[in-house]
Symmetry: C2
Subunit: 351 residues, 2 copies
């Protein structure tokens, strides 16, 4: 069958032929419909992140998938049912995090991630999975079901951020999303649905730009970081009850403290690499304390976040998804899904 993989010594994704998998006892066979491409895929391709399975010198890419049960193989699933797979799997034996259905809380080394670390991904015609890693989704979200995984990342981050404010009465009104990539825009739409009165999205693009159009169509305010750096957003617009960091630009984690309103929280999901810089750490530390602020980092997502993401996706307007997904390509032109220009927001490969 067709699969899109990157070789350990390769620079670009390649279309390869691999055997169609056979589900082991207790596993199901899923026929892949669509797989979204994101920044992690680009990092894996660039060799900055990711590890091939032990026995192979290549990694089948793809971790944002939607598919259909092809062979239920005696499980509770039904053939034809639409499913979205979760990303993490036990690295050999199950550990406590998988046992209590919190794979997203497993530390490095205690998980594989399909399409990223130690296990092949979903960018292929068929994959097998144990049923507990599949989330059943309604037909209504099948078309854009590959967005459920990224939305689940935002759902988890929001859940942890809200939990951190649970010891007092927190009625957030303003939220700022850092980053106008597809995850930032999906998060903005999610926050809009969660009752934030005023939402903002920070980017660095000139008009006309399709992401700015989406931001404004959502009723949010576009903040150009070239005019208003994060450290000045609070003064220029308003202090933010929630800041959602989705760029991985390292200084953002710290400037977020300045952008927050008293009792606010910064949710961090972007992943920077090593980056040295100078900060006024005393003022940031003091501001965290004197105004009861928090910074909460989260990674990956678990079943509850996938389930909430299904509801969120189902509630988003069709125009948004149509505008957000700028290209869905077939296997024969899969390279296009990995290209990136000012008109690309989110792409997917269709099998």
């Amino acid at each position: 069958m067709d699969a899109i993989a990157v070789y350990d010594d390769g620079d670009d994704p390649e279309l390869i032929d691999v055997p169609r998998p056979t589900p082991a006892s207790g596993e199901v066979l899923v026929r892949v419909s669509r797989v979204g491409i994101d920044g992690t895929d680009h990092e894996v391709i660039a060799g900055e992140h990711g590890v091939s399975p032990d026995d192979d010198d290549y990694l089948v890419l793809g971790h944002e998938a939607v598919g259909v049960i092809e062979d239920a193989n005696g499980t509770a699933f039904t053939e034809g049912e639409v499913v979205v797979p979760m990303v993490r799997r036990p690295p050999g034996t199950e550990n406590e995090y998988f046992q209590r259905d919190e794979p997203d809380m497993a530390p490095a080394g205690q998980y594989h991630e399909r399409g990223i670390v130690g296990a092949h991904g979903y960018l292929c015609e068929y994959f097998t999975s144990q049923p507990e890693y599949l989330v059943s989704v309604p037909e209504s979200v099948a078309q854009y079901g590959f967005l459920i995984e990224p939305v689940s990342i935002a759902e988890k981050a929001l859940e942890h951020a809200i939990a951190s404010r649970a010891a007092f009465e927190w009625t957030p009104e303003s939220a700022l999303v850092l980053g106008n990539g597809s995850l930032g825009l999906l998060t903005l739409a999610m926050l809009d649905r969660r009752g934030f009165d005023r939402t903002y999205c920070l980017g660095r693009r000139d008009r006309p730009d399709p992401t700015i159009d989406i931001i404004e169509s959502l009723g949010a305010t576009y903040v150009d970081s070239r005019d208003t750096p994060l450290s000045r957003v609070s003064a220029a617009y308003e202090p933010m009850d929630l800041v959602f960091e989705a760029t991985g630009h390292a200084p953002h984690a710290f400037e977020t403290v300045e952008a927050l309103a008293p009792n606010g929280v910064g949710a961090l999901v972007g992943v920077p690499g090593s980056h040295q810089f100078e900060i006024d750490g005393g003022t940031l530390h003091e501001e965290l304390v004197l105004h009861n602020k928090a910074l909460v980092g989260t990674v990956n997502s678990g079943r509850p976040h996938f389930e909430r993401a299904v509801e969120t996706l189902d509630s988003l307007p069709e125009w948004l998804l149509d505008d957000l997904v700028t290209d869905v390509v077939g296997v024969d032109t899969f390279e296009r899904a990995f290209s990136d220009d000012d008109h690309t927001i989110k792409t997917a490969v269709e099998f």
Copy 2:
């Protein structure tokens, strides 16, 4: 009556004579028993922090008090009842934070703090208060009741830290307290009572030292930061599920991220001033995200934290409080309570 105050243009606390206050309708009169002295008092004396009331050119110090109801004045209190006053008061009119009994969540400018900002403190023979700012405490904690306010600070920080981990199953075992001052030691004792299996306390003192004796008598491990800086604690001892920052040393907020175990939380209560330094902000930001870590700052405390602090104080062994409170002085020798040397841990003034 006697009061200990610092003049706006003065360098040292002075014993002054002020009129004994008369409770207004609905207020009670409290006879002060003892008042603890802490780092904030020293900052107020040094002019680094604090503001005198509008109409006065001096501030009566003291915010860690225990006293006895002298005149219940028709309220539900009983004369002779032991009470501990909370610190914050509305700055004129009541705002939403006071209305919902969360004065500790009020931002700067929306509160006075008795003995610190805009309102006289408790270092005097009598003070008046509205009943809602007094916490009734049992006779058993009366002697060391001035420790309830500092313990309540730790209670609030722990509450917020635990809340931030409530979105998943968190079973912390290891905790590190940064700072072996009286607040650090009280926090260490509190954590010991909250089921942490292994506790550590970071300081920079040579043996023999009374704070190290207390740390080890509590069954905790003393970590000398001159031998093992915070950034190396994780490797030298173990990664910490909870780090409690009580020194106000600015880099600690950031090094805490390195000291934490996956899914751990850093609780910050120390208050540094401006302090520029270089960090590997990329690695810290990444570590927050990839290991689901959080930093939670908190300040001040509310009624639930005072009430929990009463229970905590009541559960602490007598030897600990006897060793921790190194000096209780009368008004005639009050200056001794503000001196600081290697044998001083916590002092109080007795009226």
